[in-house]
């Protein structure tokens, strides 16, 4: 999301260097706890991922991923427990089938699949989480903003005028 839409009372900040924006949908029992472990072990990783917690990877819906891109995300991460570890016995098995089918659909429609990362991270794999984040941010920084989807957003008929009139009213 470009920065002009900041509130007007702030002086129009110099065009800030673009920062990748990644949304992560994670399961509460394994990946969220893995990220906690990365924290308690003071590992270091890029600050561009916003985590949204869900009870299980089985709860993650395809509309979440599409809506994340619609809100201007440059990348989406989806992560849950390893098959067999699911706190609810079968959530991640269903999730695996759904992600498998849905990624084929996105790929077919021309999405750059390097912007969508599916992973299993257990509560003990803090390191793996940190590496995944760093790897994803590096990849997306290299790919740059999700131009194709931003073009769709720019088609946002109210936002386009607003940025023009925003500039006029200063």
């Amino acid at each position: 999301m470009s920065d002009e839409t900041k509130t007007e009372d702030k002086p129009a900040a110099a065009e800030k260097e673009w920062q990748p924006r990644i949304i992560a949908f994670v399961c509460n029992w394994c990946t969220y706890a893995g990220a906690d472990l990365a924290g308690t072990s003071r590992m270091v990783y890029e600050p561009h991922v916003r985590i949204i917690k869900l009870p299980c990877s089985g709860r993650i819906d395809v509309s979440f991923i599409i809506k994340a891109f619609e809100q201007g995300a440059d990348g989406v991460m989806v992560s849950g427990c390893h098959p067999g570890d699911c706190h609810y016995t079968a959530g991640n098995y269903h999730a695996r089938r759904r992600f498998g089918g849905f990624r084929d659909l996105l790929e077919f429609c021309g999405f750059d699949m390097r912007r969508v990362v599916f992973s299993w991270v257990s509560a003990a794999e803090g390191k793996k989480w940190a590496d995944l984040v760093n790897e994803a941010v590096a990849k997306i920084r290299e790919l740059g903003p999700f131009k194709e989807y931003q073009k769709l957003l720019a088609e946002d008929i109210w936002r386009k005028e607003e940025t023009n009139s925003d500039r006029e009213t200063g």
Partner: protein
Amino acid sequence: MSRIGVFVCHCGENIARMVDVTRVAEETAKLPGVAVSVDYRYMCSDPGQNMIKEAIREHKLDGVVVAACSPQMHEPTFRAAVVEGGLNPYLCEMANIREHCSWVHTDKELATQKAIDLVRIMVEKVGKNQELFPIKVPVTKRALVIGGGIAGIQAALDIASGGHEVVLVEREPSIGGNMARLSETFPTLDCSQCILTPRMVEVDRDPRITLYTYAEVEEVGGFVGNFKVKIRQKAKSVIADLCNGCGDCWNKCPQKKIPSEFDAGLGYRTAIYVPFPQAVPNTPVIDRERCTKFLKDKCGICEKVCTLNAIDYTMEDEIIEVEVGAIVVATGYDLFSVGKDQPNEQWTGYGEYNYDAYPDVIDGIQFERLLSASGPTQGEIRRPSDGKEPKSVVFIACVGSRDPEKGLEYCSKICCMYIAKHAMLYKHKVHDGQPYVFYMDIRAGGKNYEEFVRRAIEEDGVLYIRGRVSKIYKDGEQLVVVGADTLSDSQVQVRADLVVLATAIVPHRDAYELAQKIGFGCGSQGFFSEAHPKLRPVETNTAGIYLAGACQAPKDIPDAVAQAGAAASKVQLLFSSDELEREPIIASVNEATCVHCRNCIRVCPYSAITDKEIKDKKGNLIKMVAEVNEGLCLGCGACVAACPSKSIQLAGFNDEQVFAEITALGSG
């Protein structure tokens, strides 16, 4: 919610060092819906918590976001504080700006921006939170125990002594299970009948235990605290109240040549029989498949001789319905048979031992019967083929167990011990006999177990040969056991009068059906699945159903009894309060838009969703919908993602909340 309070924690320096907490508080104050936004050094401290309580009262807050550590740490603390402030606990959410932010980032500006975003996500989510109240489910304080072996008996007695009613269901005519068929038990060699019979009598005498023998569980419905069980009491053809167990009927019964299951086929029983003398209850049953009265409508001697006319041929099977709050499954085990016909298609028999063709090749339970004083040979060791006393007996370990090629990879845990016991008892009875044991590794890890095996080798002269047996064939009167002796690296041939196979412990043939019928998991080999191998060994994934004994995995009597005690204590725990309180994070169905495609019913791991008919006043069906059973749903949300029209929602993580969280990031 429209009046949200945001409380940003410094956590001393843990957060404040890398996140500009005051700016986070300022920025969130600007968010629509935020009434107050403050920061403080230690939100989890008492003054910190009081700050929240006062803010709730003062600003009439209807939502709280605490930006601090991980919810895994202090969510309970802050939710309790919020309750004291007069607000529903589920209107309080935590933004993790420590483990997920300050501790792991190095760029203060970007970390602060991330913290602001994380708080904004939670503010938007709290805006859509609803008040939730714990689910209350009534508990029927009566337990059902399936299986009357030592585990089932122990569990029943412990629950009953805890003051609760128990219904014990046993498939055989008498309780006692496999333990009743043993002669002595390792490592103390005390006679199994002597330590078991008192417990069996206790079960019979205890008024709180209702005992159904020669009966099976037909159907289990309902959920934790409210199971509805149907028990099929097979017709015994004997009226228990009238019969005093005098034995006239089974002594006069002309059908003498029926192989006795209790004696594993080595002895015989009559058509009307009690499995063994100390049977509890001591009431005989008529085996309708083998009784001439039922087959050709002739005979009827037992009715004639019965002075108390307790025989009633017209008796029918009876379905008994009972309501229970918890179920303990203790259905015990079977022994692997080396024969061709295998219950599990992944298993194969032992052609090398000529399957079960040789009468003098018997398994452990059959040898126990030979050893037992109440056995077919009154405790004398005689060969099933010609009744002679065997002078040389070969015991073979790991028959089936630890044999991936035959389909059973696991170790059955108790065979090494009972082989040593068998050899020792054989020597006590046939002083000049020579026992041989073919083994791979001796597994004697229990208390006094190793000492017991040492005694068998040193005092009783049992000859242990480390190696597998490759072949057994008949040579004249004797059997030739061909095997290897890896210690002397040589082929060994032993001429044996009798061969005892220590076959693997396997689940009953119909274990899988029973698990399906009751509604809990079953492993690939057919043993019942515990909730967690280390931390929840006696629970299953279905609330209110517990496991005890060998049905969960091969184990010896001490372990079985220990598990039975543990299962009983779990039942006591469940029955300790009149109502069961459950986390209100459960799913609910919008019946107006559900079209009954049953996706949710199929994906639910806890079969918590069932079909429901919606009828109009006159009773004709309007539509079918799905319905969530509040007792069973554990809130995983797999159903919500499976529902195309989103007619089912999970409280605490419904679509409005997640949507709000995602769109909160759209503002950037």
